[in-house]
């Protein structure tokens, strides 16, 4: 760890002092390692959490024809950002009934004038949240140990 050196010393009858921070190369190397590990771990965490949410959404979505289930997708938005989306228009319309001509995913999630909300995305998100929080703590502990 870096530390400060600079206590006054006798120098040719005079006295001198100064500031020298030692251990900087080691500190920078350590910070570089922390950065590398944090990037890797956080990237994996974001991806893992998104895949977990994606799988939960697929399990929880109400299935009649399977169109909306097939319209659930996962997309990378950045190194630490992933999104899970559901769109009936992106569905494969497995029953061939033209189900993917209109968007209705939001009406399944939040409800409509004739249907109660099913909250399949909300539930998936809420069940993933505590896992992310606990994994973040594990990563923080790992970084502290470096």
């Amino acid at each position: 760890m870096a530390k400060l050196q600079g206590v006054p010393r006798v120098s040719g009858g005079g006295v001198s002092s100064g500031v020298t921070i030692v251990g900087i190369p080691q500190l920078l190397a350590k910070l570089g390692l922390v950065q590398k590990v944090a990037r890797l771990e956080l990237g994996l965490l974001a991806r893992g959490a998104a895949f977990h949410m994606f799988q939960l959404a697929q399990q929880k979505v109400p299935v009649i024809t399977g169109n909306l289930k097939s319209g659930i997708a996962i997309e990378k938005g950045g190194p630490y950002a992933w999104s899970v989306s559901a769109s009936s228009q992106a569905g494969s319309d497995p029953a061939g009934t033209g189900k993917n001509q209109k968007e209705y995913a939001g009406l399944v999630e939040f409800g409509s004038s004739h249907n109660v909300p099913r909250f399949f995305m909300t539930e998936s998100y809420r069940e993933t949240q505590p896992i992310v929080a606990s994994d973040l703590q594990l990563i923080a502990a790992k970084l502290m140990r470096l």
């Binding site: 209705y104 939040f110 409800g111 409509s112 004038s113 004739h114 909250f119 909300t122 539930e123």
Partner: protein, 142 residues
């Protein structure tokens, strides 16, 4: 749980602005429904739905409990403007309401999600769903 849901419903029903907007249906019931609106109900109205997945956040032995409840309060209107006005009125009512939930004491009520406006599939109505997290506490479980 039922006491808490009823108290939230009462707060909305008693709010003057919400009441002025939604009014009562043919049965004389203020148009704040649970799960789904009555089939013959005319917008604007509010629909309450419990969002699953909440658990009590804190218990201290058997002495105290905090119940967390997330409820989707959906403002239904005949057009976008009406739905948004009602959604705003709901938010204000939740913030200033006096909750009377039996043994439970109101602690907190805040909006947690506000996904946006959603046109209905079968009617010309527009809905603005928003989720609110409520916390109620109670001491001395008996």
């Amino acid at each position: 749980m039922k006491d808490i849901i009823e108290s939230i419903r009462r707060v909305l029903r008693k709010d003057p602005l919400v009441f002025a907007m939604v009014g009562a249906d043919n049965d004389g019931e203020v148009k704040i429904y649970q799960a789904i609106a009555k089939q013959d109900s005319i917008a604007p109205y509010i629909v309450m739905n419990v969002v699953p997945g909440d658990t009590p956040i804190s218990t201290y032995g058997e002495d105290y409990a905090i119940e967390v409840l997330t409820i989707q309060l959906t403002a239904w209107g005949r057009n976008s403007k009406e739905a948004w006005q009602l959604a705003d009125a709901i938010q204000d009512a939740v913030a200033v309401g006096q909750y009377d939930a039996g043994l439970w004491d109101f602690m907190k009520g805040k909006r947690v999600t506000f996904p946006g406006e959603l046109p209905d599939r079968d009617t010309a109505l527009v809905q603005v769903p928003a989720s609110y997290e409520f916390q109620f506490g109670r001491g001395g479980r008996t």
